[in-house]
Symmetry: C2
Subunit: 229 residues, 2 copies
């Protein structure tokens, strides 16, 4: 779905994005070449194994990045929000996407053409360095994820995930993720995630309104998360 372009220069996500490292002139230039679309909830932004055509910059909403198996199982690796870039790795390595990006809610996403991205990489050192730092941070958190899935019990992983998600969704009052997505995020199944979330509710660590989760005792959750570190 096409929509009137939000302006990059005045974009409310600019401060929290890598565009913060771009000059006004650069931002203006990007603004002219970009296109912008609304993705409905559950709509795929890009598919695993497909070659990229540009850089996606999330203007509003949230996007899950996941690997999907032939068995239908899904592993969510990361959840991106307003201001985040997605799909830049394939642009750098010239490889097809290694993950699938799907909208978790209705989201507005801008697409910056490949050439524009590469030009920015060539000409703006600050941008380049900030991007490199972002990738390094991502790698570190992914390495942490490996160890935790391997050694931390489900209860600890869900406690930790809820704290992380509360931070991602800090502007909203509730964590807006189905139990099934929560399960995919921590590497378990729906039923187990449902059970653990119910336990946390009984233990007064979280409250639930309809199906939405709100943390009411983050210290308690942190303790559960750290039990096995």
């Amino acid at each position: 779905m096409r929509m009137p372009h939000p302006e990059c220069t005045t974009c409310k996500s600019r401060g929290s994005s890598l565009f913060n490292f771009c000059s006004c002139a650069e931002t203006e230039k990007i603004n002219l070449s970009k296109t912008c679309n609304i993705y409905k909830k559950d709509q795929v932004v890009f598919h695993e194994n497909v070659f990229p055509i540009g850089l996606f910059c999330i203007n509003s909403g949230s996007i899950k990045l996941s690997k999907i198996f032939s068995t239908g199982k899904e592993q969510i690796l990361r959840i991106a929000r307003a201001g985040d870039f997605i799909g830049y790795r394939s642009l750098i390595t010239n490889d097809p996407y290694s993950v699938t990006a799907t909208a978790l809610e209705d989201s507005t996403i801008c697409l910056i053409p490949k050439g524009e991205f590469h030009e920015l990489m060539q000409t703006n050192k600050n941008f380049y360095e900030a991007l490199l730092a972002t990738i390094c941070k991502e790698l570190e958190s992914t390495e942490t994820k490996v160890s935790e899935i391997a050694y931390k019990p489900v209860r600890g992983r869900i406690a930790e995930a809820l704290l992380l998600l509360a931070n991602i969704y800090k502007k909203e009052e509730y964590i807006n993720l189905t139990r099934e997505d929560l399960a995919s995020f921590v590497g378990t199944v729906k039923e187990t995630a449902i059970r653990v979330v119910s336990e946390f509710k009984d233990e007064k660590l979280i409250s639930i309104d309809k199906r939405r989760i709100k943390i009411i005792n983050s210290k308690g959750l942190l303790q559960i998360s750290n039990l096995y570190d």
Copy 2:
């Protein structure tokens, strides 16, 4: 342990390392500023949570990069060999090491001072770009590891790990890793790794001499590895 410096310019690992992107003059300069040490088997090269003082370049041997838990459990994330750089991520982000590096066998490792590394990053675009590409690849393989630990049964993970290790150790005839390290690498326990390796021997997928593993049916292993993708 100190030793006579191997020469960077004639280093047999140079072709397979990122120094391949450096000019002769640059390599000479690095050669003069570097120091070189032998690390005995099981010796720690650097520790988690410690700040880096330079860039490590493996001249010979093999190094495991792992996270170690307070419970004593270890998750091996990556195994680095001759020509590989280790510890560059902390140098880029100015953070302490997020993993511990330990010699799997007696290894020779050069240490390039921090300043030298940063200068190279500033002045040599090819080097910079190659490093960025390396990190991107690492991130992709770490993401794959997350999904596999979450969804692939131990048999499949060990089959896959053996194929990967055979490739890392392609110059040697045997895979030189204890069952315990193999277990840490795929996220399981020693006993389970031992049992699966024994099964593979019984199924004529591998042969074992003393405790060393040699692959004799890689197609079979690949099939087991792919059963659940």
